[in-house]
Amino acid sequence: MLRRHVLQSAAAFGAGWLPVGPRAWAAVGATARAAQRRLVVVFLRGAVDGLSVVVPYSEPAYYRARSSIALGRPGADGGVLDLDGRFGLHPALASLLPAWQSGRLAFVHASGSPDTTRSHFDAQDYMESATPGRKATPDGWLNRLLGVLPPPPGGRAGPTRAVSVGPVLPRICAGRQPVANIASGSGATKPTALDRPRVADAFDALYAGDDKMAQAYRASQQAHREMIDTLRGDAPDPDMQAANNGASLPSGFADDAARLARLMRNDARVQLAFMAVGGWDTHANQGAASGALAGRLQPLGQGLAALATGLGPVFDETTVIVMSEFGRTVHQNGNGGTDHGHGNAMWLLGGRVAGGQVHGRWPGLDASALYEGRDLAITTDFRQVLAEVCERHLDLRDAQLAEVFPDAGAIVAQRLGVLRA
């Protein structure tokens, strides 16, 4: 459906597309409501094999192309977890099945970037700038999004409105708006030399200017104090303990996801968040139900489940997008792995997701349907999904969408219906 039509019909009812029902925000203005919504982007660097995540088990061509790494049909030993009779979820992602069943997890299959590059670095760059084919774009789309978000209740946005986890700021966060980053692991809440007042006073004087470094310095100080206030001495969430059966969290990502969830749950100022997970470039021995890829997917799934659990009630107003720069070849290569491909699946999690569905048009795996004879074709531009989330979840208007996705043109006017009305 074209978005223009939605706009017209919404205008006709004079109420916007406010959800009606027990959780309707009837008394809240659109701007204030959007200011309470959260967006988390998780980027899988290295090109995850989407055909092993959302497995087209009903296609004979899938099994022909992957003699040793295909996942079995539902019910088979190590088989996929059935999603909708056509597609199945990798069994290592079993921790996400409840989200699917409760309608809070969806996928957009055969999605990706229209640019044809099979370079990890260019493809990631294009997905983070959201300007495929254009390298000179100076900023990332999450930063541009931050620039057009309506002001938070109570006025001025602080530097922690957008937070990235990890020691460097990725391309997606680059730009004019300040974005805070917090260390991965327990370092995020450890005190530093600047927690000593006399040290802080001396460095405050040194960084009293208004240049880029002074701003980074102050953003860091403010983010650090918020982290300490919010998380220090905070006992692990009992829900989370239950979700993990009391066991300690399995990996760095799950640990970081749980910490981010606590921060976002306890600190309404944090509205946008970004995390990246590497290690998906499975050129050799990627395995099937077990093996290298399964070993990466399992902690990812557990981390996403921990994020959902840890957000608690905030999860209802959160959308999590999981994306990767491109998919991998339909045929396995000579070493039980897959090489760089094209189409992939995007993942959407959250209380407002139109879940329990695999969205997008599935082009199939017949030889004639493959991109350049080897890869899953792309039927949904990734920017369409992002724009839909920005519009429907964060209430961006046309002009704002055009700022965040400058080259997308008519693409962002099309709608898949990935969020619930």
Binding site: F121, V179, N181, Q215, G279, H283, N335, H340
Partner: protein, 533 residues
Amino acid sequence: MTILPLGKRTRRWIAALGLAACGVSAAPAEPAADAVAVHVLNRLGYGPAPGELDHVRQIGVDRYIEEQLHPERMPLPASLQRQLDALGSTRLSQRDLIEQYRHAAQAARNDGEQGRAERRALDQRIALESGQARLLRAIRSPRQLQEVMVEFWFNHFNVYRGKGLDRVLIENYEREAIRPYAMGRFRDLLGATAHHPAMLFYLDNWLSSAPGYQATRAGGPLAKANGLNENYARELMELHTLGVDGGYTQRDVTELARILTGWTFDPRARRVDAASASAFAFDARRHDPGDKAWLGQHVAARAAAEGEWALDVLAAHPATAHHLAYELAQAFVDDAPPPALVDRLARRFLDTDGSIAAVLKTLFDSAEFRDPGARGAKFKTPYQYVVSSVRAADLPVANVRPLLATLTQLGMPLYGCQTPDGYHNTEQAWLNPDAMTRRIHFATALASGRLPLARPMDDADVGAAADTAMSPDADNGAAARLPAAWASAPVDVDAMLALLGPTLSARTRAAVAHAEPSLRAALVLGSPDFMHH
């Protein structure tokens, strides 16, 4: 909030004002000449160290550059050589290392906890010794440009320590494939990386075989290697030579992968050939025997010679020259390198058959490199920041563990870049809020002498001691618990001001002057000026 970057021009103006108006410490006798000397020390090396600034003052900038372009003429200090000689694993051959890895992996499988401990001990010993070898040289070697170029090329031909066998091979890779060629001919460097098992393993080429090849060997790591793998072929063109816009197609990637089938190594190090230190092997059975069509040329089948020829073509290609020229100009001059300079460097590369030293000389002689606007225009990477801090502070180092830990916290673990593009050296990659806090935290610990850099390296508890020293309470109780011999004396701020004088702004000088004495050195190292080079 808008960001107003402090422009180069503004920084220069502030620096000039600082020198004129502020008498925090004795201003150097010839500030203009010193500014050039510091610039050269900052870019050809890891920043000024006390003896070295004097040396440049004495012989002049041009002779210093000439010296740096000929590292083979400069001996290492005997004390540094002794420290390097103590690192046993840095003398092991590829075969020894592969054998030790296999032995440890087997023990970890068969001998339970004891076996796993043996494997961890091997990993840790090699990680520490390779870190020690790299950082001690970077901090203390007079061959500073060589160290900078080793780091540059390592990133260009990056290999990740965390992938299997590369845990043990990483130092050998740098020692045998990078260091000897860092200022030599690019074709030799390219060839050395293409033959090294660390690269063949990292980018999977060791498994790549002719399509349809049926492995005959029962079991063993190569048993499943029954076809093509295009990982290395792609990165060889995209990252190592032509560049992503170098004009090749997916077909060229696949054809180059076919050309390179059979380029592997002996994972069991069985074929004992005492004469050869290399584990490289060309396996003719795995090689695709058909003709290929690559980069618009017909390639007649001729076994390993096809790959050598392909490396010749790539090394001499104008797109490669441009790609390398851009990277060098970005590393040595500006994040956005001047296009005219890039063009000149690319021409020099092609005219000299890919002589790295010749290209560097053109670069260092260029007006763009010498322009006062280039001074302090680059934001230091964590590696540059950590190494230059230790050099400026003039601290003796017996043990680099606290420095390795700091690099990890700053997001740049040594040999720890997972992806083949290596670490970037631009401000956009490294300037972020958390980095500011962590750099200042490190500067404060280093300047107060609290890092246990003097603790003997074989002391197993040194990691814990480093944690203690980095804790914010360290200047109260914890520092007292560090034996005096392991910590250092607090850094002498006057010596540091004399060394870095020309690079410090008025604001920094004022903040230093007004701070209590025990914090002054930390402020210098934690200043925006020192974070640039």
